[in-house]
Structure formats: structure tokens, C-alpha cells
Symmetry: C2
Subunit: 191 residues, 2 copies
């Protein structure tokens, strides 16, 4: 994903403490063409997992999850962080620490859309500490569903998420892999 790396280098800002601001094309403003390319690439890399549904977390996971799901031809479910009135009383709920907001957030999925027959592909914007993705995996497990793969747009290897997720024994793909953000740098892994 050269196009993605170029956008990160030209528009991304290293705010320190491992925070990468990519609000110009991913987290506040969204470039639909780039996101569609990202979805196509994640779908291609993870097609072999045989997923029946994409699972992500609102808010910034929705765009990459939607484009990936479209290229795989399967639905997506986005876990809510608060329970809307349209959701039944009995839900799957887990807590995940929030890297960019502090504290913990709730991740909530209705049992209506997550069942034991599903093969779940988890997609998110960032793979950093892995805690949000691990939370989504707990929701899938609570439903008796099977996690079959994980995909992220941007991975920050120095936060250790890949090791945390290794216990799931599924393929993990990320499109831009950043290995160092110390002292204002944004360093990608060698291809």
C-alpha cells in the first residue's frame, strides 16, 4: 500500500506518545478512494479466512470495515460504545481501554447480529495495543462465533498489539506498519 504510506508521510502528524494524527484522510475527514483501495487490499489478503461477517468498533473502524466488507461481499457489524434504544435489553458487552481518550469504553453488540455460526473478520483503523481488537474478539467468543482473521489500516508495532493477539491464532494483516515514532519520527517497516 504505497499510496497509504505516502499519505501518512505527507499528511500524518506525530503528536508524541505514539499518537499518529491522520485526521485528514481516516479519522475525521475520510478519503473514500483511498479507503476503498485499503478495503480491496484487506479483502484480498484475508479472503482465505472465509469470513461471513466483518466486526469493527465505532467510530473510526466503520469506514475501513465497510469497504473491506463490500469487497468481500459480506455484512459488517459495528460494536456500539453506548446502547441505543433500538437494541434489546440483553446484549454482548465488554470493556476495552481507550488509547486515545483515556479510561475504558464499552463495546456492545446485539445478539441479533452475532451468532455461533458466524466466522468473524475483525477490522479496525489502528492495530496498536490490540486491546480494542481483543475486546471485539471477546464479543465474538461470547456469541460462540469464531474469529478467523484480523485486519488494520495502520499498525504501530512498538505498542505490542500483534503479540497480544497471537493467542487468537488467526492471520493478522495491516497495510502500513510503523515501527518507530520516537523523537517525532514516523518510520515504516522495511517491505
Amino acid at each position: 500500500m504505497d499510496a497509504l504510506q505516502r499519505r501518512i508521510l505527507t499528511e500524518g502528524r506525530n503528536l508524541g506518545n505514539g499518537i499518529l494524527k491522520v485526521d485528514s484522510f481516516l479519522n475525521h475527514q475520510v478519503d473514500p478512494v483511498l479507503l476503498d483501495e485499503c478495503g480491496r487490499e484487506l479483502a484480498a489478503r484475508l479472503a482465505g479466512a472465509g469470513a461471513t461477517k466483518v466486526l469493527t468498533a465505532e467510530i473510526s473502524g466503520i469506514a475501513p470495515a465497510l469497504t473491506t466488507a463490500r469487497h468481500l461481499g459480506i455484512p459488517l457489524v459495528f460494536a456500539r460504545k453506548s446502547k441505543p434504544i433500538t437494541m434489546p435489553d440483553q446484549v454482548f458487552l465488554t470493556l476495552a481501554p481507550s488509547h486515545t481518550r483515556g479510561g475504558t469504553v464499552e463495546l456492545i453488540v446485539s445478539p441479533e447480529y452475532l451468532s455461533q455460526h458466524e466466522r468473524i473478520l475483525i477490522i479496525d483503523d489502528f492495530l496498536a495495543s490490540g486491546q480494542t481488537i481483543l475486546g471485539l474478539a471477546r464479543l465474538a467468543a461470547a456469541a460462540g462465533a469464531t474469529v478467523v482473521g484480523i485486519g488494520a489500516i495502520i499498525e504501530k508495532t512498538f505498542e505490542g498489539g500483534r503479540a497480544v493477539l497471537a493467542a487468537l491464532h488467526v492471520p493478522i494483516e495491516s497495510l502500513a506498519v510503523i515501527v518507530d515514532m520516537s523523537e517525532g519520527r514516523i518510520v515504516f517497516s522495511e517491505p
Copy 2:
């Protein structure tokens, strides 16, 4: 949009008080194929407005805004309901009453991605009371940008939003127009 009307009739649930639950394809689970068709149709109907940017509100606006923006070949910005740490201190912020959650929510956009040269197309999942869309229009006005069109997936005419938005003097398009939800009904307008 016959496909959309069929999905609403087969999967939508009238929860009373004007609340339409469409969590199976729009507000919690998302059907990417249907949403892509909706985006294509909104883009076609509103192409003449000459928009340079799509503006929506997180959370459920993101999917229809993304597919509409992709078919128009322009970026989208989703207003945040809380200010992430990546956003500058000075922002555009307005309050909008929340129909499905009660109380009011903040709608926040960074001045980095909304400027006086922009021609703004507002896209949302629902056009009901029109208050969220009106809030987005206030954000555009605060930036000195020009609202040039409004599009929604589902309109509930009995909540009066179209009249509220008439003061903006822009084209308003919605793909499924519901005129009556009293006594458990879901009645579409005649084509």
C-alpha cells in the same frame, strides 16, 4: 429505491413513538451492497449541486456519507460527538437535540477540514426532525462554507424536518419516504 423499501418492510421494526429500527442493515449491522446502491443513487440525484465535500455526523451517518462521497469522488468529514485529542483546541461546535438518545449531543468539526471555499453536501441516515442536519448546516455556516444539498437514506415526513430545512433553499433528497408510522404501520409515500 425499491430495494431499500423492501428491506425496510421486511426487516424494519416500528418501535412506536416514530422510532424505526433498521439495525439489520443500517444502524448496527450494515449491508455494504445496499449502502453502495444508496450512495450511488444519492450521488446521482445530487450531482448537480456541485459539492466539494460531504458532511455527516458520527455514527450512523458515516456509511451512507462514505458511499455517496465515493460515487461523487469527493472527501467526507464526519462531525465528532466528542473532541478527540488529535483535534486542535479551536473547533466549530454546535448542539443538536438527540432524537434517539434524548438530551443534546455536541457536533464538532475541526476548522482544518471545513473552510469558506467548500460547497457542502450534508448526508445522514435519517431525515426526521431535521435538527441534526440543521446542526451540521450551522457548522458549515460557522466555517463560511456553503451548504448546497441534503440527502438522507430514510425520511419520516411526519416529524417535519423538510419544512425546518426549507430555509436553507437547497435540494433535499431522501431514498425512502415514510409518511405514517402510527399504530404500528410503516407507510411509504406514493411514488
